[in-house]
Amino acid sequence: MRKKILKRRKPNRSWGGDFGIYTFLGLFAAFMVLPMIYTINSAFKPMDEIFLYPPRFFVRNPTMDNFQDLLVLLGKSWVPFSRYLFNTVFITVAGTAGHIIIASMGAFVLSKYRFPGSLTFFRVVVTALMFNGYVTSIPNYLVIAKLGWVDTVWAVVIPAFAAPMGLFLMKQYMDANIPDVLIEAAKVDGAKEWAVFTHIAMPLVKPAWLTLMIFSVQNLWNARGSTFIYSEQLKTLPYALSQIAAAGIARTGVAAAVSVVMMIVPVATFIIVQSNVMETMATSGIKD
């Protein structure tokens, strides 16, 4: 005989309150996804439905015309489409890999070892969470010009290694999840710091890797690189796609297809690693 387990309902929840709250939540969720549904619908609309007056929200006869146009248009450009895609993928993958390794190394020593300057450095990093790209972009250009990285892909990849959010999240996660006794046991067994880092710390913080990866992908996939990159072969996908979208009203359908392409990668990555992200964010508070 199967036992049905009833979930206890908390006695201080009124049915009216629940109903009101869930209706409100449903309305707001609809508001949040509205533009995305509109975009996805527009991307599949054939040309005659896009310019219908009065405009319709949902699509009646979905076609793949816009995506085919996208490939045709991009194929006719000076530089082949695959080059833009390759540039963006390279920036994303290289930036993310470097960021995870470098930020993890830094976070490991900040959280588990005490040495002069560690607390000050961490406080400076927490303050740097507040900066915006534009505020630091003007002197950044001067620094990168002095280093000779203007017009190369490293101008976008290497500053992404030092994103403050990654160090902060990783340090908080390591604080909470690597027991000190484990490290002391490893030291007793004769392991040096690098061995402790690779064999003990890194395998324990896998959810945090995935969180750093999603934040890094989110930033780098949309990186326009317009300040630093001038030669056509090194331009990134968002740049090429925004050129197409800005070409005017005849390209409205293609612009919607562009938005769908740009949106799919971060959203899909987020869905895949979501539970790991939530586990990492559970330790991300600023304790004072």
Partner: protein, 310 residues
């Protein structure tokens, strides 16, 4: 006498620190890649900005020291900057607290849903801030001609006769920018709040029920909020940052510069002087002022948040 003792103790402390530092050489090596990159790309630009703000610098000639002239011009002689400050404060006051409270409210509301529905809800709420240029779709919805979705709906319902130019009319532009900013404001802070709510000890809720907590609002104030202080702090820092750094949304939707400077924000003013007129000294002065304002606001908010729940 005590001054000598103080100096002696300071010297001892420095010697101790030096010995500790020599012992943790490996730590410094580990921190070095991140530290060097961070200092080069985050600390040096801020300090350079501070120094450049006292000079006149267009990239072609070396900087020329002019003292506080930039700040005086900025605060006393620049009308557009005052409009930008007013706009930024309006946006920050509305988007900041409203975004912050709504992030917390949504996190709290979806906390009690079953796991799969909660996962879907999280994706739905976080997706707007994942795809950085989705707000361009709002440009189609709010478009000023009769093809814009909002205009079409209002005309069909016979509420208006002519299409309203939402994005170029100074009366409506601010409202549009506020709506779109609020739409994309559920970012990392929201995720932190959802995760924090999951981590609260369930036995506290049961203890509260036994002690007589009547409804969910009391439970919120007495049990939930005090346990979430660190998450609230993190979310506040993120909210303040994004509230003051509003630049992409007005630039993409309402044009740069906007009609009558109605949605001109401080960061847009900075981009104007920095990337278009190449007056780096002036732009650095704006950046420095913005930076100090944000730090001040952060300190204030942290003081306020320490009292939540007590």
């Amino acid at each position: 006498m005590s001054l000598q003792r103080y100096l002696a103790r300071k010297r001892e402390f420095r010697a101790y620190q030096w010995k500790m530092a020599k012992r943790s050489k490996a730590c410094y090596l580990f921190l070095a890649p991140y530290g060097i990159l961070f200092i080069t790309f985050f600390v040096v630009p801020v300090i350079t900005s501070l120094c450049l703000s006292f000079t006149y610098y267009n990239i072609l000639e070396p900087p020329r020291f002019i003292g506080l002239q930039n700040y005086i011009n900025l605060l006393l002689a620049d009308d557009v900057f005052l409009i930008a400050v007013k706009n930024t404060f309006l946006l920050a006051l509305i988007t900041g607290p409203v975004g912050y409270i709504s992030a917390f409210l949504f996190a709290w509301f979806i906390n009690e849903l079953p796991r799969y529905i909660r996962a879907i809800a999280i994706v739905m709420f976080y997706a707007p801030s994942l795809s950085a240029n989705m707000y361009l779709m709002w440009a189609y919805l709010f478009s000023g001609d009769a093809y814009g979705l909002l205009n079409a709906i209002l005309i069909e319902l016979n509420l208006i006769q002519q299409p309203i130019t939402w994005l170029t009319n100074p009366q409506y532009m601010m409202t549009v920018v506020i709506i779109v900013s609020l739409w994309s404001s559920l970012g990392a802070g929201f995720l932190a709040l959802v995760a924090g709510l999951q981590g609260i000890d369930k036995s506290m809720y049961e203890a509260g029920l036994i002690d007589g907590i009547k409804n969910r609002w009391q439970e919120l104030w007495f049990i939930t909020l005090p346990n979430m202080k660190s998450m609230l702090m993190f979310s506040a820092v993120m909210s303040i940052t994004s509230a003051f750094n509003v630049a992409d949304v007005p630039m993409a939707l309402t044009g740069f510069p906007s009609t009558d400077y109605a949605t001109h924000t401080v960061v847009l003013h900075l981009i104007d002087y920095g990337s278009i007129r190449f007056e780096m000294g002036y732009a650095s002065a704006i950046a420095t002022l913005l930076f100090f304002t944000m730090i001040l606001c952060n300190k204030l908010i942290q003081k306020l948040l320490r009292r939540v729940g007590t």
